[in-house]
Symmetry: C2
Subunit: 216 residues, 2 copies
């Protein structure tokens, strides 16, 4: 799914299983901007986010495309086609992938959770492919806001308030477009009465039906 990932591995595991799985993992502090993994990186590690925020993105020439933001409990690999970068000071637990696979062989209780988290990551990727293959940028933006609304919207003065911890640039990179395009689309939706901007990353959605219709 776009935005902060809902798949929290640690929440899915009981304390004993967690401890057994994380044996051999080491803690690492990341400063803002620090790169944890890149395509063809040498180290093949898995990591679990303890705190902070990590961006997973693809890059090609001067373009970037964000696959997801990971927060506490999120799990990923340093060894994919993606760049992995701390966008604020973060703490992760890192383990060797081969070693973790070996641990899993003797830790069957962790397996369903791991497979579900991988499945959720796959679902996220398939949604992105749908967006890119079938929707124009406005459709992607509407779908993104509609999805976030379902998860994070709360009633506020007769509308639904959506507080995203993302700026216009972040949203542009999630949608594979420019900041300027996102701004002008948001301005258009504001003119049409679908939403209004109540601050940086804060939106009041006045017409959720029309927002959803635009995301189809």
């Amino acid at each position: 799914m776009h935005g902060p990932d809902a798949s929290n591995l640690l929440e899915r595991l009981d304390a004993l299983t967690q401890a057994a799985l994380l044996q051999g993992f080491h803690q690492r502090q990341l400063v803002e901007g620090e790169l944890l993994g890149s395509p063809n990186g040498e180290r093949d590690s898995v990591f679990i986010v303890r705190s902070g925020r990590i961006r997973v993105f693809l890059a090609f020439e001067d373009k970037e495309y964000t696959l997801t933001f990971l927060e506490a409990g999120g799990i990923y690999s340093t060894h994919s086609q993606a760049y992995v970068q701390a966008v604020r000071p973060s703490e992760v637990l890192m383990g060797d992938t081969a070693q973790t696979m070996a641990t899993l062989r003797s830790l069957p209780s962790a397996v369903p959770a791991i497979i579900r988290v991988l499945g959720a990551t796959l679902d996220n990727c398939m949604r992105i492919i749908e967006d890119l293959a079938f929707r124009d940028v406005e459709g992607r933006l509407a779908r993104f806001l509609d999805g976030m609304l379902a998860r994070k919207g709360r009633p506020h003065q007769g509308s639904l308030r959506l507080e995203l911890d993302l700026n216009t640039e972040d949203i542009a990179q999630l949608l594979g477009t420019t900041r300027q395009t996102v701004s002008s689309l948001l301005n258009r939706m504001a003119r049409e009465g679908i939403l209004s901007r109540a601050g940086n990353g804060v939106f009041d959605i006045h017409d959720a039906e029309r927002l959803r219709a635009r995301s189809q």
Copy 2:
């Protein structure tokens, strides 16, 4: 990866593990065109292809986008955002997803193979996202042919022959474009001396360097 999937689960498992994993699976024959799964389908099953060919694709209004073709050993779920359809008479082994998860808890030897196959599927999805986000259609076509060449090309009269079991329509749906566009791009590459068409789905690649350069 585009095209026939390289992740053959059955080959990765020894005979005993295979037998234990497939306990409770039942065999199903599919006729050409038969739909095995669709978005929001009720049944949540996993299946393994024994023979034939299964197409996994996304659809939106009148557009379709092929994620992969599965052949013998390929594994997938009926319960994703994708349609799953036999494109020729096929035989699959089907099992209930929840039941299979339970089996895996007592079958740790199968876990690394399953996770690797899921990882390969995820890699495939990330390649597709890269293609859609960053490449124009010609770049996608060149990358597709270059990738197939690495896996299936064989020397033939001073060139490399590539026999794809795919027609122009199949390739168009893999790349998210029309048959007409693929045809005209192939014709252009032929005029430029990069390749020639030696039959339906059969290409002779005369300049693999230039093909690769075009895929960057």
